[in-house]
C-alpha cells in the first residue's frame, strides 16, 4: 500500500517531485517571471473600483494606456483588470510630474470628460501639473483641487493608489532578500543538526528548497505578479514547512529511540509518516481555512500575499510527509550497510 509504507514506494514520490521541480525550473528558465515593480522598478496605479458604467475591455485598456503614453511618450505600459471592476496600470518609472499628469488624465477619463485624444487636453494636463507642483505651498491651490475632486462623483484622487520603486531600491531588495533566505536556511540547518542529526537537517532543508522552487515555478508557470509580498510569503513558507517536517522528524527521532535496532530505517520512517497523516492534514486544513478566507475575501494586495502561501502549504504538506523522511531513510540505509 502506497500510504501504509511510503518508503517502499519512495521512487514514485521522488519521481513526482523531480518532475514538478524540473517543470518549475524549465518554466523559470524559459517563461521567466512576471516581475512586479518591486523588482523591476517602475510606477503603478491601481483603481480598486472604477466608477459605474466602465467595463474592462480592449478599448478601455488602450485608452488608459494612452493616458500614460501621453505623459511619457516612451513609457512601456501594461494595463490589467483586477477583480470585477478594478484596473491596474504598470508603467516604467515616471517622474513626479509625469505621475501627476497620469493621475489627472485618469481623473478626467473616468469622470466623463473627453479623453485626451488631441493635443489640447494633453497640454491642459501639462499646464495643470507644474502649477500644482510649484505652488504646493499655496493652500488655496490645494483646496481648489480638493474641491474640484469632491465635486465630481466618480473617481477621486483618494481612490487611486500609486506605487513607485526606483531601480536602486529594487536592486537592494533583491540583494537583501537573497541574503535573508540564505541566512535563515543556514541557521535552521545548524539548529536541526543539533536537535536531530545532520542528515535530518539536510533532508529538511532539501524539502524546503523543494517547496520554495515549486512556489517559484507556480508563479512562473501562471505568470502571477511577483512583488515584495511574494518574498514575505516565501519566507513564511520556509517557517511553516520546516514546522511540518520537524513534527514528522520528531516522530522518527522517537521511533529511533524506542525501537533501536529492532526496526529498519525504512520501518521507523514509515511509522513516523503514517502516524503524522492526520496531524499534517488537520494542521494544513486549519491554516488553509484562515489564509483561504483572506484569499477569497481580501483585496488584491492581500490576495497577492495569500496565494503563494496557499501553494506553499500544499507543497509543504506533501514534502514533509513523502519527501524528507523517505529520503532520510534511504540515506541512512546507504550509509549504514
Amino acid at each position: 500500500m502506497l500510504f501504509k509504507n511510503p518508503c517502499a514506494y519512495r521512487k514514485i514520490f521522488f519521481a513526482i517531485s523531480i518532475v514538478l521541480v524540473v517543470v518549475s525550473i524549465l518554466s523559470m528558465a524559459f517563461r521567466g517571471f512576471n516581475l512586479g515593480i518591486d523588482f523591476t522598478s517602475g510606477t503603478t496605479f491601481e483603481i480598486e473600483h472604477m466608477p459605474e458604467g466602465f467595463k474592462y475591455d480592449g478599448e478601455l485598456e488602450a485608452e488608459v494606456a494612452a493616458i500614460v503614453t501621453d505623459a511619457k511618450a516612451d513609457a512601456s505600459v501594461q494595463v490589467q483588470a483586477i477583480g470585477t471592476d478594478g484596473i491596474f496600470i504598470k508603467a516604467t518609472e515616471l517622474t513626479n510630474e509625469e505621475t501627476e499628469m497620469v493621475v489627472n488624465g485618469l481623473l478626467s477619463y473616468f469622470n466623463g470628460e473627453e479623453v485626451a485624444e488631441d493635443a489640447t487636453n494633453a497640454t491642459e494636463a501639462e499646464e495643470v501639473a507644474p502649477v500644482a507642483v510649484e505652488d504646493a505651498t499655496d493652500v488655496a491651490v490645494e483646496e481648489a483641487t480638493e474641491e474640484a475632486a469632491e465635486e465630481v462623483k466618480g473617481l477621486v484622487k483618494a481612490a487611486i493608489s500609486i506605487d513607485k520603486v526606483s531601480a536602486t531600491t529594487s536592486a537592494r531588495l533583491i540583494g537583501d532578500t537573497f541574503k535573508a533566505v540564505l541566512l535563515a536556511i543556514i541557521l535552521m540547518l545548524i539548529y536541526i543538526s543539533i536537535r536531530f542529526d545532520f542528515k535530518s537537517g539536510v533532508c529538511a532543508v532539501m524539502a524546503l528548497a523543494h517547496d520554495v522552487i515549486l512556489m517559484f515555478g507556480f508563479y512562473s508557470l501562471f505568470q502571477f505578479t511577483m512583488n515584495t509580498s511574494f518574498v514575505a510569503a516565501v519566507l513564511t513558507i520556509i517557517g511553516y514547512s520546516i514546522n511540518a517536517t520537524i513534527v514528522v522528524f520528531d516522530r522518527v527521532r522517537e521511533n529511533n529511540r524506542m525501537l533501536g535496532k529492532k526496526a529498519t530505517w525504512d520501518e521507523k520512517a514509515d511509522k513516523a509518516i503514517t502516524t503524522s497523516y492526520t496531524r499534517t492534514l488537520y494542521s494544513s486544513l486549519t491554516t488553509l481555512f484562515t489564509i483561504g478566507a483572506l484569499f477569497v475575501l481580501g483585496v488584491s494586495s492581500i490576495q497577492e500575499f495569500a496565494l503563494p502561501i496557499i501553494v506553499g502549504i500544499v507543497c509543504g504538506a506533501y514534502s514533509s510527509l513523502f519527501v524528507a523522511p523517505t529520503f532520510w531513510a534511504m540515506w541512512k540505509n546507504a550509509s549504514n550497510k
Binding site: 513626479n96 517557517g239 484562515t290 481580501g298
Partner: protein
C-alpha cells in the same frame, strides 16, 4: 480538590472573558471606557496600507551618494520635518532607512505627488528684513555653518541653548549692512532678521546691535531640539542637492478602509471555521482549544495595542501583519493538533484518560518546541534583514508564535487537566476513535 478546581477554572474563564471584552469591546461603564483594539488612539496602530496614506523614501539626488555626509542627511531629514509641519501634516513620521534614505509616512493624504515635489525640492533659505525683502541668501557663498551649542549666552554667564551662525567674508559684509538697516527700524519693532525656508518665515531673531563679525549667535527660548532644528534649517541652505523619491507607496484612504474591513471579516470567518473544525474533530479538547484560541487572539491584540497604556509600545499593523497573525493562529492550532493527536494515540493504546493527557502533552512538547524555534529563526532573520512591511510581518508572526507557545501548551493543558479532574473521563469526548468504558 474539586472545589479548588471549580474556583480556578471559573477564575481562568473570567480572565479570558474579560480580556476578550477588553479587546473586542469598546464598552462604556459609566465614565470608564474600554477602548477596544481598533480604537485609533489606544488600540493597535494601523499601518498606512490599512488607513490609507503614503510612504515616501527620499534620497539625495546626486550622482555619487558617497559625496553626501551623514550630517547632510540629518539636515535634510530635519528640513523634511519642518516642511511637513508647514503643510499641516502633523501626524506624519520621518525616519531613516539605510545610510542615505529618509522614510516619510504621511497618513490620510489624497495627493502624494504634491507632497513629493514640495518635500523634495532644494531648500531655499533666505534672510529677509521685516518687509520680506531678501537681504542675504542662505547659500554657501554667504553662510559657512550653523551649530547648536549649549553654554553661557551673555556677559552674566547665564547658560542656555543657542545657535552659532558662521559667515563667510561676503556674508559678513551683507550681514553688517542688514543689521544696520534693521536697527534703524527699532522704533517700529522692525529690528529683526527673518530666516525664511522656502519663502516662509521660520525664525525671526531680534537684532540688538550691528553685527560686523564672521560669527554671531542667535538666542531665544530654545531647548536642545529646537536649537538643533534651527541650525539644521540654516544649514539646509547650503545643501547642494534636492531630494528624489526612490520609493513611493500611496494607498488611497478609501482602499485602505476596504482592505482593513475585508481582512478583518476574512479573519473572523477563518477563525470561526477553525473553531468549528476543532470542536467537531476533537470534541472536548477541541472546545478547550477554542477557549485557548480566544485567549490567544486577545493576548496578541493586547500586546500589539501596547496594553492600552498611553505611550506604550504599539505595533503598527499592516496588511502583511494581519497575514502574519492569521498564520500564527494556524500555528497555534497546529500545536494543539499535535498534542491532541498524541492524546488520541495514547487513548487508543488503552491508557486511562488522565494518563493519556499527561503523556500526550509530554510527548508532543519536543516537536512543538523544535518546530516553533525554527520558525522563530525565520522571524528573526526577517526582522533584521527586512524593510518596511516585511519587518511588520516578522514582528506580528514572532509575537504570535511566542504567545501561541504559552496558550497552546500551558493554558490548554491547565484546562484539560481540570476537565479530567471534574470526572469527565469518557475517552470518546477526548477524541478517541471508539466509545469505550473508562
Amino acid at each position: 480538590m474539586k472545589a479548588k478546581n471549580i474556583i480556578s477554572f471559573a477564575l481562568v474563564m473570567v480572565i479570558i472573558a474579560t480580556m476578550a471584552v477588553v479587546v473586542f469591546g469598546d464598552v462604556s461603564i459609566g465614565n470608564f471606557r474600554v477602548p477596544g483594539v481598533l480604537d485609533p488612539k489606544y488600540g493597535v496602530k494601523q499601518g498606512l496600507d490599512l488607513v490609507g496614506g503614503s510612504v515616501i523614501v527620499f534620497e539625495p539626488d546626486v550622482e555619487d551618494l558617497s559625496t553626501v555626509s551623514a550630517d547632510d542627511v540629518a539636515s535634510a531629514e530635519n528640513i523634511i520635518r519642518v516642511r511637513l509641519t508647514s503643510m499641516g501634516e502633523t501626524e506624519a513620521t520621518v525616519s531613516r532607512q539605510g545610510d542615505y534614505g529618509i522614510r516619510v509616512e504621511i497618513p490620510n493624504i489624497d495627493d502624494p505627488n504634491e507632497a513629493v515635489s514640495y518635500i523634495g525640492q532644494t531648500a531655499a533659505l533666505q534672510f529677509m528684513d521685516i518687509d520680506g525683502n531678501v537681504v542675504m541668501d542662505g547659500t554657501e557663498e554667504f553662510v559657512q555653518s550653523a551649530t547648536a551649542t549649549f553654554g553661557p549666552m551673555d556677559q552674566y554667564g547665564n547658560q542656555g541653548h543657542y545657535v552659532t551662525l558662521s559667515l563667510t567674508n561676503a556674508g559678513r559684509e551683507k550681514f553688517k549692512v542688514a543689521t544696520e538697516e534693521a536697527l534703524t527700524r527699532t522704533a517700529e519693532g522692525g529690528n529683526v532678521i527673518i530666516i525664511a525656508l522656502d519663502g516662509m518665515p521660520y525664525s525671526w531673531p531680534m537684532v540688538n546691535e550691528v553685527i560686523d563679525s564672521d560669527s554671531c549667535i542667535i538666542t531665544g527660548d530654545f531647548d536642545k531640539d529646537t536649537a538643533k532644528e534651527l541650525a539644521d534649517v540654516i544649514n539646509s541652505g547650503r545643501l547642494p542637492f534636492s531630494l528624489k523619491d526612490t520609493e513611493l507607496r500611496a494607498v488611497g484612504p478609501t482602499l485602505g478602509q476596504e482592505a482593513l474591513d475585508t481582512s478583518l471579516f476574512a479573519a473572523l470567518i477563518g477563525v470561526i471555521l477553525v473553531m468549528l473544525f476543532m470542536l467537531l474533530v476533537y470534541r472536548l479538547p477541541g472546545l478547550v482549544a477554542d477557549v485557548s484560541l480566544v485567549a490567544y487572539i486577545s493576548i496578541v491584540c493586547l500586546i500589539m495595542a501596547g496594553f492600552f497604556v498611553e505611550g506604550g509600545y504599539r505595533v503598527t499593523l499592516t496588511l502583511p501583519g494581519i497575514a502574519g497573525i492569521i498564520l500564527s493562529i494556524g500555528m497555534a492550532v497546529d500545536a494543539n493538533v499535535v498534542i491532541f493527536e498524541r492524546i488520541k494515540d495514547e487513548l487508543n493504546c488503552g491508557k486511562s484518560v488522565g494518563a493519556s493527557v499527561d503523556s500526550g502533552f509530554k510527548r508532543a512538547l519536543t516537536a512543538i518546541i523544535d518546530s516553533n524555534v525554527t520558525t522563530l529563526i525565520t522571524c528573526a532573520v526577517l526582522y533584521f534583514f527586512g524593510t518596511g512591511t516585511i519587518k511588520g510581518f516578522a514582528i506580528t508572526l514572532g509575537i504570535g508564535i511566542a504567545v501561541s507557545l504559552l496558550t497552546a501548551i500551558f493554558l490548554t493543558k491547565f484546562l484539560l487537566k481540570i476537565m479530567v479532574g471534574f470526572g469527565v473521563k469518557n475517552p470518546w469526548v477526548y477524541g478517541a476513535s471508539k466509545r469505550r468504558d473508562a
